[in-house]
């Protein structure tokens, strides 16, 4: 008997010591450095510390469309170089395009050329008619699939880079399903700014302003085929009013942001505001050099996500590989712009489909209320047990203390995130924690009524209640695990604390209380039991 008691007491003591070691860093900051750093910690959920939760839908179809349009552009240049006159261009479904050529062997030659130049395209010759023939090019399925996967994987990577540079501790950026990205930014105070930073596609393009066509006509709807109507947004620094100026630019981008090497914020342009200076990599610098040389005295629009930031006149050839984006930026705006340019553009536009932002003050308020509710709930249950079962109730309360300690330590060990529903789960677990003891105590009462000795009644009570306790806990555990599997966000947090609570319950109810009774009985068999 004594051996078994010693063994169990040792187990409880070891678990308690481990729990305290694991839990301490979550409760206090005044610990030795290595202890604090080595130990996992209970994370506070967004609802408890404030922050942003975003679910983004990646618009993969747009990425595919953009890719095929870029192919079409390149293909058209290639045809032009080889002297193959493209009469018209048409999109062919979501992942293809077709060119029409005049009569003759143009179409056949184009097919051969494109096939050779673009191995990732399937090029087929259309029907040859008297007035010419068409060539259809389509992306190979493998290519489309690669774009699909890439759009999400690279999107996650890009957003992570941006957030790292923005400076958020413990951000969580993960792909969800085939086309979703979930971004969690705990503790972010300027939430709107963070959302904009994450959501920007940041596709930077340099496009020539189309000065040949009439802007009036264009705003009325007749935009030349190779041009597009974009707007320049400028904000008056005094009044804060935004104005939009229409501008006609060539559709074809001369240079894009993927050639940017660095982007940084500088101050002190004419208006005294902030601006972003860029430097290109060697390929970009070469292209920029050629583009500026060919287009002196023309205007070059700097377009980010289809909004014109500035459209300066090219005064002279620029060969150093440096450029500036000016605009009426605040320091924050300029720094965010530099971040997205450095981190690169998203391969496909994203749309925010779920945004949960919680201010830090509400978080503090919630945690205070939640903890207060938990403490009061626990206290009431403890009081009830002590009143109802007297001495045995106190033993159950004693086990409850270990229960809560182990539960919190378990959450810290798994680096679980404590959310408001998680606190609710703990409260519920406390309510149910005593259930096992109630089951056992009611059994003991029955046995005592049947005139068994105290010691026999206790043993029989634990024995007979054992399987009931196991069954009832396993069923709860089943629902908790399923909640975890299918739940999102708050539900997951709740499921974690509930399932851990249930598992720990089994141990404390069956081991922690029994050892107390066994100890008392081992010293001298109890004659009476206050229950």
């Amino acid at each position: 008997m004594w051996k078994s008691i010693t063994w169990r007491v040792t187990l409880i003591a070891v678990l308690t010591a481990v729990s305290i070691v694991v839990l301490a860093p979550s409760l206090t900051d005044s610990l030795p450095g290595t202890w604090k750093e080595k130990m996992p910690r209970i994370n506070l959920g967004l609802d408890l510390q404030g922050g942003v939760f975003l679910r983004l839908a990646v618009e993969i179809d747009k990425a595919i469309e953009n890719t095929i349009l870029r192919y079409a552009d390149d293909a058209r240049s290639v045809c032009r170089e080889k002297g193959l006159p493209v009469l018209s261009f048409q999109k062919a479904g979501a992942d293809g395009f077709s060119f029409r050529f005049p009569p003759g062997d143009f179409a056949a030659r184009a097919q051969a050329t494109l096939k050779e130049e673009f191995p990732s395209l399937e090029v087929s010759l259309g029907e040859v008619k008297a007035d010419g023939a068409s060539v259809t090019a389509r992306m190979k399925p493998a290519e489309v699939q690669a774009i699909r996967t890439n759009a999400v994987v690279q999107g996650v990577e890009t957003i992570r880079n941006r957030i790292d540079q923005f400076g958020v501790t413990e951000p969580q950026i993960i792909a969800e399903g085939e086309d979703r990205i979930v971004v969690q930014l705990p503790g972010v105070k300027d939430q709107q700014r963070a959302i904009e930073l994450v959501g920007k596609t940041a596709l930077l393009e340099f496009k020539l302003v189309d000065e040949g066509a009439s802007l009036d006509e264009a705003t009325k709807g007749s935009v030349p085929e190779d041009s597009q109507l974009l707007y320049q947004k400028s904000v008056d620094p005094q009044t804060g009013r935004a104005t939009k100026t229409p501008m006609l630019v060539k559709r074809r981008a001369l240079l894009t942001g993927d050639t940017i090497k660095t982007a940084k914020v500088n101050f002190g342009n004419q208006a005294g505001g902030a601006y972003v200076s860029l430097s290109f990599d060697s390929r970009g610098a070469k292209v920029f050099d050629r583009v500026t040389a060919e287009n002196v005295k023309r205007r070059l629009a700097i377009v980010l996500d289809d909004t014109i930031y500035s459209a300066p006149v090219i005064q002279e050839r620029i060969s150093g590989g440096e450029a500036q984006i000016t605009g009426n930026f605040t320091a924050d705006e300029a720094s965010d712009l530099a971040i997205v340019l450095r981190a690169g553009s998203l391969p496909a536009p994203v749309k925010v489909i779920q945004n949960v932002s919680i201010g830090p003050s509400l978080g503090a308020d919630s945690i205070q209320k939640g903890i207060r509710a938990a403490l009061i709930g626990a206290l009431l249950v403890v009081l009830f047990m002590a009143l109802y079962y007297r001495f045995a109730g106190l033993v159950a309360d004693f086990a409850l203390v270990f229960n809560i300690l182990f539960l919190l330590a378990g959450m810290a060990a798994f680096s679980a995130t404590l959310t408001l529903p998680g606190i609710a789960g703990i409260i519920l677990a406390i309510g149910m924690a005593v259930d096992s003891n109630v089951l056992i105590f009611e059994r003991i009462r029955e046995e005592l009524r049947a005139k068994k000795t105290v010691r026999a009644a206790i043993d029989a009570g634990y024995d007979k209640a054992f399987w009931t306790v196991v069954d009832s806990h396993v069923t709860t555990l089943i629902t908790a695990v399923i909640l975890f599997q299918f739940g999102t966000g708050p539900i997951k947090g709740f499921a974690v604390s509930l399932s851990m609570g249930v598992a720990i319950n089994l141990f404390t109810a069956l081991v922690c209380t029994k050892v107390v009774f066994d100890y008392l009985n081992a010293k001298k068999p109890m004659q009476t039991l206050s229950i």
Binding site: V356, F384, L428, V434, I478, T479, Q485, F486
Partner: protein, 304 residues
């Protein structure tokens, strides 16, 4: 102290009334569930899609004025709720059935900022959810319920026998439907936390049911005479004090949550509290009678 002593209540004779009450609750719940699935019931924006905001003003706010301003901006359907004494304003906008997934929180904040220059506020929380996500979350919830039911039937079929498993699942679903029905009738908002509460209560009520079943099995083995109904009555009476005490402790915990947990947890705690009452009722009046009806009155041993 003992709350209930040596009761001899004939629960089985009450089953007619219990079944009538339960049938009504379940039907109501089924109707409510269909409405929830169609997005017709008072759904929280995390299930329906839409926008909800919590703003904390410095001074008291005139709700009518805010309502007027929002209506003028095209948000007639906005529901407003104030927290008395705290100058907190909750704004909820449900996404239309086929409206685009667009975010409206920002413009509204700016609108209110310029409308109440002398009463500044901080945005305490914003939650915007597209209707597609809302739909997906509803589907996920339905799936979770179905999988739980299956898992529970399998576990109980293994631990007891198939009929017990099914009866327990029926009792569990009875509770879930009853809660949906009650929340539907009273027009209380149903959100993701409500679904969490449903599943929790499912688990809790099951625990209760299992305890009764356990005792029935034991008594069937001990008593070879009498009818199955008598055995059920005996078993339910024997565990009655345990059932009541346990329900009481859990109820105490949830009421504490209801009273002290703040507005975010209010509906959740309410659902748990109601659910515990229903779960306790169903483990006495629904689960065992279903087994009795199905198994008949012969005292055949429950296989293990």
């Amino acid at each position: 102290m003992e709350l209930v002593k040596n009761t001899r209540i004939d629960f089985m004779s009450l089953k007619k009334y219990a079944f009538a009450v339960s049938a009504a609750l379940t039907l109501l719940g089924l109707f409510g569930t269909v409405q929830v699935y169609r997005g017709q019931a008072n759904l929280g924006i995390d299930l329906a899609g839409g926008t909800s905001m919590q703003l904390k003003f410095q001074k008291p706010i005139a709700m009518d004025e805010v309502r007027g301003i929002l209506a003028k901006a095209g948000h007639k359907e906005a529901t407003l709720q104030g927290v008395p004494g705290e100058n907190i304003l909750l704004i909820k906008l449900r996404a239309g059935a086929n409206s685009e997934e667009k975010m409206v929180a920002d413009p509204i904040v700016n609108l209110l900022k310029s409308s109440f220059p002398s009463n500044p506020f901080v945005v305490e929380s914003v939650s915007e959810i597209g209707p597609a996500i809302g739909h997906k979350l509803r589907q996920d919830a339905a799936l979770a319920l179905a999988v739980s039911a299956l898992a529970i039937i399998v576990y109980l079929a293994w631990r007891f026998e198939f009929k017990f498993g099914v009866a327990a699942a029926i009792a569990t679903f009875h509770d879930i439907f009853a809660m949906v029905g009650i929340f539907y009738i009273f027009g209380i908002e149903k959100d993701l936390l409500f679904i969490t509460a449903l599943l929790t209560i499912g688990g809790y009520s099951l625990t209760d049911t299992v305890v009764v079943f356990d005792r029935i099995r034991e008594n069937v083995r001990l008593r070879k005479k009498g009818t199955f109904s008598e055995t059920i009555n005996l078993s339910v009476n024997e565990v009655l004090s345990r059932t009541i005490v346990t329900s009481l402790t859990v109820f105490i915990a949830t009421v504490s949550l209801l009273v002290f947990g703040g507005i975010v947890l209010h509906n959740f705690a309410l659902a748990l509290a109601i659910g515990i009452l229903i779960g306790t009722y169903s483990s006495i009046f629904v689960a065992s009678p279903v087994v009795a009806l199905w198994r008949g009155e012969k005292m055949t041993e429950v296989k293990r």
